[in-house]
């Protein structure tokens, strides 16, 4: 099983090869990245198949090295292959490979495609390092690398203002959550004395207080990464990045890292109890808010982004109810069908030359493959049998029912209803009605193949749900008929309402059915329930004012002190210069002038005539003799 170590290292190697190259040579090296992703997919499937027959929660492969020692603290990096990480391996590498192949068609005209692939590879390496890590510290490091990659890919087209701003917003917002994660690590090490899963999750007996602190801080970190209310505001803006990158990072994998973290740390949450309730509350709020906001977006990618937020909320609800299987299973199914929807959205945007659904329509006639695959993804998202979303959503509802969380159960049904509604709205807007774009044609084969693969997975994976539960070490069973029928009825109602509002013949051209019927609701939703405005007013603007005040303080007080000191020094230096000029230079120049004047006078006797020297000598001799004579007398 040693090859498991190679799984995160191969994409990392691809990044190491691509990153130092420049321009055209990097673009030519793109096949290396694609090849690396395909090899990684093969290895991951092999690892998954090796784990599958075992089907229990113990680690099947575990290795660890110490990479740093601080005092007596040893920091380790390790590989832990168990059912959860093996499943995540397949999800990440399958979606990753699909996105990389798809991007060959989607990005082939971009002149920085090499850099795009380099970052995709680094992201894949980090995500694989995250799911395979055997301790929270390594998980945190991979987590931050993914944050960086997310930032780089959102701002990939940094020549434009919107992606640039969105990348900064995403980075800073997730950073807020990351602080929670970092604090959780500190508290965890202080209480449990280790970062290792084996110690923290199994051996250590958590006191409820400490467990609550750690769990809530971890949850805060997960909320940032997984775009949960109120830290969800970055994800819709993150759609400014390339669509395949959105599919991989902002729909399927990275945003699921928060869910993965909570699923991993669930024993701590269970030790706390309170944290579970909070998780469920955050999740259901997010599921409803995301679903409602998705219903009023006109940008097809933003609909999918809010849908992602909503579905992530669903996963949190399941985890909050203690249903690790349901939550994790929904993560897996969602990763496939949401990346499928995003890839389909990419094709649609390419074909229609717009992201605004009001300017689309009638795509079904001209783009059959896209239509079929996108429809499969849509039905899975809406929770219609037999597609994967139906199974995982039912498991979540089952968990809520059995856990006697009846209020949340009803709210989850409402969320499912809203989901079906906006799915119908999206579908009818894009695929039915009159064509609004001329020259529609089907996409390239390298874009259609990954979508078909994901659609096939989405169609069949649901039938594996009971086996999946057993694989994770729980009791597997088919969904109860009552719950299945209820959820299907709710989803059907949602779809029907969507059709009634957007799909009927006389409604197709009505761009604002909701606004015309419930104006104040629409206004609130159109303003994204005022989250962005609130943040802008209470955080961004106040922060700006604080920064302005500090800047003013800096300019007046600090600069004043510095400049004052400078002025004093300068004055002193001026005095010194004056002394130098007048006294010292005066002495030196005075001596020189004196010597010069004396020399000018004395030089006159230096006539150059031998005979005048002789005469002088004679005169001197006479004087001397006279002096001696006089003295002698």
């Amino acid at each position: 099983m040693n090859y498991v170590i190679a799984i995160p290292l191969i994409p990392a190697l691809a990044f190491a090869i691509l990153a130092p190259l420049s321009g055209r040579s990097r673009n030519a090296a793109v096949p290396i990245a694609v090849g690396a992703s395909v090899i990684t997919l093969g290895l991951s499937i092999a690892a998954f198949l090796a784990v599958w027959p075992g089907g229990h929660e113990e680690a099947l492969y575990h290795t660890s090295i110490t990479f740093a020692t601080i005092g007596s603290v040893k920091l380790a990096a390790g590989i832990l292959l168990d059912p959860i990480s093996a499943t995540m391996l397949v999800v990440v590498t399958l979606v990753g490979a699909a996105v990389q192949v798809y991007s060959l068609g989607y990005m082939h005209r971009d002149e920085r495609i090499g850099w795009y692939y380099a970052v995709l590879s680094l992201f894949t390496a980090a995500m694989l390092g995250l799911v395979l890590s055997d301790n929270f510290l390594q998980l945190y490091m991979a987590w931050e690398v993914m944050g960086l990659c997310s930032y780089l890919l959102i701002g990939f087209w940094h020549e434009q203002e919107a992606p640039r701003k969105a990348s900064i917003k995403a980075f800073l917002t997730t950073r807020v959550g990351d602080i929670g994660f970092a604090l959780a690590l500190a508290v965890m090490y202080k209480t449990a004395g280790s970062f290792d899963f084996a110690v923290v999750l199994h051996d250590f007996a958590w006191a409820p207080g400490a467990a609550t602190a750690v769990a809530l801080l971890l949850l805060f970190g997960a909320m940032g990464k997984s775009a949960q209310v109120p830290l969800h505001v970055w994800l819709p803006d993150a759609m400014a990045g390339p669509t395949p990158a959105s599919a991989l990072i902002h729909a399927a994998t990275m945003v699921a890292a928060g869910v993965f973290l909570v699923a991993r740390a669930l024993p701590i949450f269970e030790a706390s109890g309170v944290a579970l309730t909070v998780t469920m509350f955050v999740g259901i709020t997010t599921a409803l808010v995301g679903g409602l906001l998705a219903s009023v977006q006109h940008d097809i990618k933003k609909v999918l982004a809010y849908s992602t937020i909503s579905q992530l909320g669903y996963m949190f609800v399941a985890l909050g109810a203690g249903g690790i299987v349901a939550g994790f299973y929904h993560l897996v199914t969602h990763a496939f069908f949401k990346s499928l929807l995003f890839l389909g959205a990419g094709v649609i945007i390419h074909a229609a030359h717009t992201q605004d659904m009001r300017e689309m329509g009638g795509l079904a006639k001209k783009m059959p493959v896209t239509t079929v695959t996108f429809t499969i993804g849509s039905l899975a998202l809406a929770g219609i049998f037999p597609f994967s979303g139906f199974w995982s959503k039912d498991e979540i509802l089952t968990v809520l029912w059995h856990g006697e969380h009846y209020v949340v159960f009803v709210l989850a049904l409402v969320a499912a209803f809203v989901t079906a509604f906006y799915v119908a709205r999206l579908w009818f807007r894009v695929f039915s009605g009159p064509e609004q774009t001329s020259g529609l044609k089907e996409a390239h084969v390298e874009m259609l193949v990954p979508m078909s693969v994901l659609a096939a997975v989405t169609s069949v994976i649901g039938f594996g749900s009971p086996y999946f539960a057993e694989f994770l070490g729980h009791v597997g069973e088919w969904p109860a008929a009552a719950i299945a029928l209820t959820s299907t009825a709710v989803a059907g109602l949602g779809l029907a309402l969507g059709w009634w509002a957007y799909g009927r013949r006389n409604q197709v051209l009505n761009t604002r059915p909701l606004k015309s019927r419930a104006g104040f609701v629409y206004a609130a939703l159109a303003q994204k329930l005022y989250f962005d405005l609130t943040y802008d007013y209470f955080i961004v603007r106040q922060y700006g004012r604080l920064a302005g005040a500090l800047s003013e303080f800096d300019r007046t007080v600090v600069d004043g002190i510095v400049n004052g000191a400078g002025a004093i020094w300068r004055a002193g230096a001026d005095v010194g210069a004056l002394i130098d000029r007048v006294v010292i230079d005066g002495a030196v120049n005075g001596v020189a002038t004196l010597v010069r004047a004396v020399g000018a006078r004395v030089r006159r006797i230096q006539t150059g005539r031998v005979q005048s020297y002789q005469a002088l000598m004679l005169a001197a001799l006479v004087v001397l003799m006279l002096w001696f004579v006089v003295k002698g007398a």
Binding site: V602, R603, R604, I605, Q606, T607, G608, R609, V610, Q611, Q614, A615, L618
Partner: protein, 107 residues
């Protein structure tokens, strides 16, 4: 002092003084470097006369003045040879032996 008096030391010293004065005058006044050298020789020989005379009249037995005079003449001969060589070199350089024409060392 009468001409009839026997020749004594004073006569020699007077002769030497006359010779020296002639030499000094010549050295100060002649334009030609050769003439200046000759005047210098005059002065040197005046000194020699003084040496010989004073030795003869004060301590004739030791002959120190005579011997010193011989040394002095040898040195003078060497000196005049060097001096004439310098004059020759100067002449070759500037086509003249006039001292007035040589003022390169003027300050």
């Amino acid at each position: 002092m009468s001409l009839l008096q026997p020749v004594g030391v004073v006569s020699f010293m007077a002769l030497a003084a006359v010779l020296f004065s002639l030499g000094l005058y010549g050295a100060l006044s002649r334009k030609s470097a050769v003439m200046v050298l000759m005047s210098l020789e005059l002065m040197a020989n005046a000194v020699n006369i003084n040496l010989v005379a004073l030795s003869r009249f004060t301590a004739p037995a030791e002959m120190t003045g005579q011997i010193f005079a011989v040394f002095s003449m040898v040195v003078s001969a060497a000196e005049i040879g060097l001096g004439l060589a310098l004059v020759l070199a100067l002449y070759r350089r500037s086509q003249t032996v006039e001292l007035d024409a040589m003022q390169e060392l003027k300050g």
